[in-house]
């Protein structure tokens, strides 16, 4: 069922946290969200890197906020891709319950050959489905097959974050449920996850070490796995530990690691680390899957 007459392109947004080498190798187009320090608008990962962002976060008195790209930004990107010869675009984005990005992309795509996909995920839990969609495309999948691969991979994926403090998440207002989770009198290292497109509490631990163990325990509960991934916000030294442990957990699986992009960093804060799993395909998975 390969398609040789059409040219399909894949678009996502900067919350996918995919490392540059994967983005380039798979020809993915990444549209940046915006980080706002007061009136100052910075394109996520373009005008400000994670390194610069977390350094600045420590100095700034006013906490930054985030904004979705405008419809015009998407329109410009889609029109450029069409001009470059794309006959169809699959645009896969951060959960519509966490960001207006997908809505903006839909408006920007009016009248253009774009299929939009709500991943109901964020960070590498969006990035891994985008990656699998791009690999399916490389193997000649149709638009429908690419969309099916993206949705199925997203369904099989779960991401966990452990935060140094709940303060950033609280201020960002992205936690939809479990307000009782926000303890502040006792030191709590929360573990959060994304479920049905929303941020949910997963565990409250007393120390970072225990929180990281909990993160790994949750990942190990999800075996058999196809892909494991890990991220850090501002503590690269913690990534090595996660990498070793995740490898031990699933030696045969794919492994992706990356750094949390500034626009997510606004909500999880410095010191956050993350790990996640894409479970192996199951009976519900589409027959076309990239090898």
């Amino acid at each position: 069922m390969t398609n040789t007459t059409s040219t399909i392109r894949i678009v996502t947004d900067s919350t996918c946290d995919l490392p540059t080498d994967i983005v380039e190798a798979l020809g993915i187009t990444v549209v940046p969200l915006t980080v706002l320090f007061g009136e100052e608008e910075l394109r996520d990962g373009v005008d400000i890197t994670a390194e610069q962002f977390f350094r600045r976060l420590g100095r700034e008195k006013v906490l930054p906020t985030t904004a979705a790209p405008g419809p015009g930004v998407f329109r410009t990107v889609y029109e450029r891709l069409v001009a470059e010869g794309a006959t169809h675009i699959v645009s896969i984005h951060v959960s519509s319950k966490l960001s207006a990005t997908l809505e903006s992309a839909r408006q920007g795509g009016t009248g253009l050959p774009v299929t939009h996909v709500d991943s109901l995920q964020v960070s590498l839990a969006l990035g891994v489905p985008v990656m699998e969609a791009a690999r399916a495309l490389q193997q000649g999948a149709t638009v429908e097959q690419i969309v099916a691969v993206a949705l199925d991979t997203a369904r099989r994926t779960q991401i966990f974050f452990t935060l140094e403090t709940l303060e950033y998440l609280r201020r960002g207002g992205r936690m939809s449920r479990g307000q009782e989770f926000f303890g502040s009198l006792l030191q709590i290292k929360p573990v959060i996850t994304v479920q049905d497109g929303e941020v949910h509490p997963a565990a409250r631990m007393r120390t970072k070490a225990k929180a990281v163990e909990e993160l790994l325990r949750r990942c190990s509960d999800m075996r058999p796995v196809a892909t494991v991934f890990a991220l850090h916000a501002s503590t690269p030294e913690e990534l090595a530990h996660l990498r070793d442990r995740l490898h031990g957990l699933a030696p045969e699986s794919k492994y992706v690691e990356s750094r949390i992009t500034p626009v997510i960093g606004v909500h999880v804060g410095p010191g956050a680390v993350s790990a996640g799993v894409t479970r192996a395909p199951d009976a519900q998975s589409p027959s076309f899957l990239p090898a």
């Binding site: 009782e180 303890g183 006792l186 120390t207 070490a209």
Partner: protein, 545 residues
Amino acid sequence: MADAALTLALDAPALRRAFEVAERWLATNREGINAINVYPVPDGDTGTNMLLTWRAALKGGVEGSEGNASDAGAYLGLVARAALMGARGNSGVILSQIIRGLAETSAGAATLDTPALARGFEGASATAYAAVTNPVEGTMLTVIREASAAAVEAQASGEGTEGVLYIMLTEAFASVKRTPELLPRLREAGVVDSGGMGVAVILQGIVCGILDHPLPTEPLVTGTAEVQADAVEHEGHGFCTEFVISGAALDRATIEGELVAAGGSSILVVGDPSMLRVHVHVAAPEHAFDVGERHGTLAARKAEDMQAQHEAWMDDRDDDDLDPASLPSIGLVAVAEGRGIAAAFRDLGAGRVLLGQVGVKVSAGDILEAARRAGRDHAIVLPNDKDVLMSAQQAAAASDGFLTVVPSRSPASGLTAALEYRGDGDAATVAAAMVEVMAGVRAVEVSRSVRTATVDGVAVREGDAIALVDGRMVAATETLEDALLAGLDVATEDGGEIVTIYLGQDAPADAAERLPRLIGERHPDLEIQIVPGGQPYYPYLAGVE
């Protein structure tokens, strides 16, 4: 014996009169029973808890019997039901089970004769044993069992009413005396069992009531100097007054005597000749302060209206128009002493926090009522005190599966358990996760000893700073800080990443600054968090995880 041929036919009014005599006698001996305490920490007020349970039971008998007050079995049924909900403290819970057993054995009886009464007490013993998961001998269980067995045997051997009652009573006090032979910790501490003494006192009151004999004028049990027959009249009123006297050659006994003269009760004076901490219940706090000022300079003065405290008991109780739809599916109830600890539980999602009153435990009924107002489908309760555990379990047993107890024995372990609390999902799963995480906490309690005793092999002098780890005495030292450090040494034996210190209302003012350095020197790898707990009795509570 005035009338050897007395034929007993106790109807409801006669039982009620006898129970009221027992109430007066228990009230007279309350402070003395309170003073009998294995752990020389002034937080285990067995006498008070038994008295309040007994009073709640009697009140239920009066309120429920209007109109049909003559039937003994029906009256006992009402008393027993009220006792189950009014039970406070572990001793109150066992007492409520004794009453329940008496009521069940007597069900349907219009009057009780001597054989029926003897059988009733025997049934009381059996029910109480059955209600306790691991019955321990040398406790109130032993006393009711041996006393009732003596009554049954005396009755079978042809004794008359007076003979049976006297034999029962003699055996009750003999049994109390033997409790240290059965329970090593009592022997070590040099005391008899306080709950057992409470049972004997109640039996004596009942017997005096039945036989219309006058009660002794002096209390039977005198643990400390403050016991006054009329002191209990102040129950629930007046002010819980505290202060610290600094001076030279301060004499504890003199000050205690003057506080008694000033109308004080529940007097506790601890410290050394240069500084004494005073706790007293008194109608006019200024009289207590006057006593203190005659001897030295006063600091940390505090007078709390005990009636107001009682009203603040359930701090969230005034919301009668509570909308059940606004409650989580699974509610969390925590029992707390201290505003800071209460706030920490609320912060972790406890919808209801039962604030204990100084020296009095919350009742099973309080817990059940809070539970109904905490959750839509289910509630989980954290008793946070070993002496609240059984009333929580009693509340759960009466809740038709609505209430689950996560058996936390200290606020430190309760707060860690609360981290696993979720307002939705499967209640049994949530409770199991809370229990599991609690196992990883070691609780340290630091207080001042109110008695000289040997406990758990540790020789303790009155006024010593003492440390308990998971309820076991581990150290007696001069300063509270040394006791805390000794407790932490034990609690970190098997590792530990973080210690949370809850500062009590009596913690030194600079503790929050000094403790991190002191602990950090001994345990450099331990994360330290200091939380203002505001709890009474324990200047420091700590949890090691």
